[in-house]
Structures are given as C-alpha cells and as structure tokens.
C-alpha cells in the first residue's frame, strides 16, 4: 500500500508539474503569439493583396495586347470593298457582251485575291441573290468557280443587308463561320464578310460586291498575343457571342443555334456592365473581369467616315475572367512559401516557449526543494542539538551522581573497615589478654590484612573516580626526592 501511495504521489507531482509547465508555457506563448500572429497575418494578407494587384495589372496588359492585334484587323478591308464595288460598277458600264465581262471580272477578282492574300472569297452577287462571279482563295492560289458551282445566297443575312445599303455605304457582317449550300463548313472557317452595293450609274442597283475576310488569321493573331491568358481570355462580338475561348463548346455556339451560350446569357449583369463601360476591370461573384472593346476599322477611316459608311457600333470585345477559384489558387501559390515559413516559425516558437517554461519550472522547483531541504535540515539540527543538550545534562548529572555516590560509599565503607582493621589489630596483638589459640591469632591477623587491602582498593577506586571526573586536586609543596 505504501508503495502504491508513493507511486500515486509521484504521479500527482508529475501531473502538477505538467500543469505548472503548461501554465507557464501559456504565459510565455500567448503574448508572443498575440504579437507575432497579427504581424504574420498582415504580411501574408498584404502579400496576397499585392499578388492580386499584380495579377489584375498583368491581365489588363494582356487584354490590351489582344486588342492591339485585333483592333486594326479590318482596317484595310473597308477600303478594299469600296474599291471592289467601284471597280465592278466601272466594268459593268462597258458595252461588252455579258460572258466577256464576267471573265474580266473573274480575272480581276483572281488578281485581287492573289495580291491581297487575305480574302477567301471575292464575289459579285446580283440583286436576286445569285452569285454571278466567284473567286475562291485557299491561302496559296485562287480559282474561279464554274457556273455550276455558283449558289443562291439571297437568303443569307449579309446579302439582304447589303442590298439595302445606300451607295457609298459598306456592310460588315458579324464575325462568324463560313456557310456553303446552307450548311456550316465541316472545317470551321471563321469569316467576316464585307459587302458594297453596285449600281448602274443611273442609280439602279445591279448587285453586290462581297469580300470574305480570312477570320482565322485574326483569331491566330489574337491567340498569340494573349497566350499567357489563354485559359481565361475570350474574344466576343458585340452581342456577347463567343468567337474564341478556352471552352470549345461555347465557341461559335450561335452558329448552331445555341444562343444561351453567349456571355450576355451566361453573365447578364457582368455583360451589361461591360457593354456600358467599354473597357475596364471589376470583380463580381464569378471573379475578376477585365475587358476592352475594339473597333476593327480603327485607323482605316476617320471617325466621321466610320459613322457614315460602316454599321454604327460595330465592335468586338476582349474579355478575361479570372475565376475566384483560380484567384485563390494563385494567391495560395504566392503566399504558400511565407505561410509555410510562418508555420515553421510558429512551431519553433511553440517548442522554444515550451522548453523555456519547462526550464523555468525546473529552476523554481529546484529552488523550492532546496528551501524545503534547508528547513528540514534546520529542524533536524535543532532536534539533534536538543538531544545533545539533554545528553550532556544527563552526563553531567550522572557524573555528579557517581562522584557523590563514590564519596558517600567510601565514607560509609571506610568507617567500618577502619573499625575492623583496628579491632583485628587489637585481637592479633592480644592487647586485652591472650586469645588462647594461635590459630585465632592468625585469623585476626588475616582479618586485619584483608581489611587494609579492602581499604586500599576503595582508596584506589576513589582516586580513579576523582581522576576521571577531573575533581582530583593536587596539593603541591616542596618535597625531597
């Protein structure tokens, strides 16, 4: 039981030591934590904020670069279609037979397509919507479509819009995919069509000059310029339809009737703001939007001409959306190193504080145990001193008692012994008359001798006791040797 109690006490002591150490630890650690935590949180937050700002700025630059490449892409095309329209008019005025005029136009179209190199189709369409002359250019060489390959395009929107134009005006189609025989081509061919009306000189409409601009070139330029943001940047037209972007399903979706995949439908509020502001940057629930509006004819026409000649408000937009998840991931990537270092420092701080607390408690407890030991020893010493004092008193008392006893005894013994010695001498000396027998006389002598011996022994004992108790006093005088 006693052993078990000792173990319990030991456990108690240990657990109390742990509790004390823990308390001490908290006393040291909490202020240190209160001091360092806000600083490190502030620094981390600042770091993340700076990273976000850098990201925003970089995105602006990327979007601007994209708009720089796309912005002037149709600058020359407006002039070209106007020239083409005027050229067709001039040729048709000549009083020649129809086939020769057609072949002249075809030759001129080929020459034009080959030298310009950016138009996939150069056409003349009559007022009914039938293609009269058509030259295709595949990027390397041009071919004249035979009569059998000419199609009816009167149902296409750009033909209808083009035929409604006043002389001098230019129609620019939306940026979409080429359609042949009423079907979108299998190999998608991004296209912008420009159309200019052709008249007979008296003001009667005779047809329409049409140029198909190779859109893939524009898109390739855009992609190269915005490569670093390819996963989040899109090119859209003025209605919010996506012309190029990371998500291929949304790309050109309007060509397949999926109008719901436009930015206008997907992010109506963000789109409203983008339409209204033209260029800028803002943040909403989806993420950070960076956008810029580009006018593809910029530089080719004066502002006044632009409003007169080309459709008003024709524009594309370059829009980047950094989703919140990406933003958070980016911020984390940026601050993860400092967060890691902070955690390491926190661990070091924690263990340092713990060691400090433990050594503090050890010192305190050592001091306490020393004090306890000193006070225990002091009590022990006092008790020992008391015992010693008692023993000394007892010894002194005992010694005195012994001396008293011996002196009493010597007196009490010597008196009768003297009597015995004296009387035996009287007997042996037959002072009061003969004893009658020599044996008796001998006995009397023996008694005397024995008594004297006993007296001397007693005297020796007294001497020894006096010597041992330091009570023997010398009576020093002059003495002959």
């Amino acid at each position: 039981m006693a052993h078990a109690d000792a173990i319990d006490a030991d456990l108690d002591e240990r657990s109390s030591k742990t509790v004390q150490t823990l308390k001490r630890f908290l006393v040291i650690f909490l202020p240190a934590l209160l001091l360092t935590l806000p600083i490190s949180i502030y620094l981390t937050y600042n770091h993340a904020e700076t990273a976000t700002n850098t990201l925003r700025k970089d995105e602006f630059v990327t979007v601007a670069r994209g708009s720089g490449t796309v912005g002037a892409s149709l600058r020359d095309a407006v002039g070209d279609i106007r020239y083409l329209g005027a050229f067709i008019e001039r040729v048709l005025k000549e009083p020649e037979t129809d086939p020769s005029k057609t072949s002249l136009l075809a030759d001129s179209f080929r020459l034009f397509a080959d030298t310009q190199g950016v138009y996939h189709q150069v056409r003349f369409i009559d007022t009914e919507g039938y293609e009269k002359v058509r030259v295709n250019f595949d990027g390397k060489s041009s071919t004249v479509s035979p009569l059998s390959a000419l199609q009816f395009k009167g149902n296409r929107y750009y033909v209808q819009a083009g035929l409604d134009l006043k002389p001098g005006q230019v129609y620019v189609s939306r940026f979409d995919l080429n359609v042949e025989h009423g079907i979108v081509e299998k190999v998608r061919q991004p296209t912008v069509r420009l159309a200019a009306p052709v008249t007979d000189g008296a003001g009667t409409r005779t047809g329409l000059a049409v140029l198909n601009v190779e859109g893939q070139d524009i898109i390739d330029l855009f992609k190269t310029a915005t490569l670093e943001a390819e996963k989040r940047i899109t090119l859209v037209d003025q209605f919010g339809f996506i012309l190029n972007g990371e998500d291929k399903e949304k790309e050109w979706a309007f060509m397949f009737g999926r109008y719901e995949l436009s930015l206008k439908e997907l992010y109506p509020r963000a789109w409203a703001r983008i339409e209204q502001e033209g260029a800028g940057q803002f943040e909403d629930a989806a993420g950070i939007w960076t956008f810029q509006t580009v006018y593809p004819f910029e530089g080719g026409l004066s502002i006044k001409e632009r409003s007169d000649i080309v459709p008003a408000g024709y524009n594309w937009k370059i829009i980047s959306l950094i989703p919140h998840s990406d933003l958070v991931a980016y911020q984390w990537r940026t601050v993860s190193a400092s967060v890691f270092v902070s955690i390491i420092l926190l661990l070091v701080l924690t263990s340092g504080c713990w060691l400090l607390a433990r050594s503090h408690i050890a010192v305190v407890q050592h001091g306490e145990s020393l004090e306890k030991k000193v006070s225990e020893r002091t009590v022990e010493m006092r008790m020992l001193n008391q015992d010693l004092n008692k023993a000394r008193l007892k010894a002194v008392e005992g010694s005195q008692a012994k001396s008293q006893f011996l002196s009493n005894m010597s007196h009490e013994l010597r008196t009768p012994l003297n009597a015995i010695a004296g009387f035996s001498d009287i007997l042996a000396g037959e002072m009061l008359g003969p004893l009658g027998s020599d044996v008796y006389k001998g006995y009397a002598k023996d008694i005397g001798t024995s008594a004297k011996h006993l007296t001397s022994i007693i005297q020796d004992l007294i001497d020894v006791s006096q010597i041992e108790t330091d009570s023997l006093v010398l009576h020093e005088t002059e003495a002959e040797v």
Partner: protein, 149 residues
C-alpha cells in the same frame, strides 16, 4: 619521597625474601609536587614490583637528573615481566593483561592506571620497559620546571 616509599614496602619485601634498594643521586634538587600523591605512585609501583618478583629477586628504586634538567625516577625489578601484547594496556584501569600468571596475583590492577594519571597531572611522563622472565622497569620523568634549586 623515594626512601619513604621504599620503607613502606620494605616489610612486605623482606617477608618475601626480595632485596629492595633505593639509589638517590647526590645533589638532587627538590621537586614542586603533591608529595603524598607522588609517594602513592612510587608505593604502587614498588608494591607491584615486590608482588611480581619471586624470592631472591631484587627491586631497585633510583632517582637521578637527566637531560635538560629533567628528574627521572625508576622502579626496576627482576620479576616475571610483562608480555609485549599487553604492555600498552596495563595503564588502563582494571586491566592487568590476560596472563593467567598476573591474574592469579592479588589486586585489581588500578595501581598502574592511577600512577599514570597522577604523573600526568604533574605534567610528567611514565614509561615501562619489560622482558619476560627478566624483569620490568617503570620510569617516571618530571619536567625541569618542577625542580627547585
């Protein structure tokens, strides 16, 4: 003191047919001591010497000056001697050695112990030299300052 002490035991010695002599040098100074106590010492030693000396033996008491003005008294006998083993213990009270020969003799052995204490009280020294069956000599020395001219 030497002659008085010898006279005290001379009866015992002659009764036992032991010759006893005292030899005191001429011109010895007087001593400043407790005369009765020094006589007690000498008588004790002489008593023992006579006691342990067989008939026909000789006991001598001598007194002389020695180095540095010290006075030396010696009691020698031609007795049984003291075994080497117990020589140092004879100065302790009630101890006469384990020799049955000594134990058979009368007395309880306080004499030598008392003698040493008394000599030392006078700042003197006491030695014993002994050879078994040849004899024993006790020497008592008093310091020079105990002498009186």
């Amino acid at each position: 003191m030497v002659r008085d002490s010898v006279n005290t035991v001379i009866g015992k010695a002659s009764a036992k047919q032991v010759t006893i002599r005292s030899l005191v040098s001429v011109g010895m100074p007087k001593l400043f001591v407790d005369e009765a106590r020094i006589k007690q010492v000498l008588v004790n030693l002489l008593d023992d010497a006579v006691k342990f000396t067989p008939s026909g033996g000789v006991v001598k008491a001598t007194a002389r000056m020695c180095d540095e003005g010290k006075i030396r008294l010696a009691i020698s006998d031609t007795g049984v001697g003291i075994p080497e083993l117990v020589k140092d213990r004879i100065f302790e009270p009630f101890n006469r050695g384990q020799d049955p020969l000594l134990q058979s003799a009368e007395g309880v052995g306080l004499g030598v112990a008392i003698a040493r204490s008394l000599v030392e009280l006078h700042d003197g020294e006491i030695y014993v030299e002994s050879e078994l069956n040849v004899g024993t000599t006790f020497e008592v020395t008093f310091p020079a300052y105990r002498t009186l001219d």
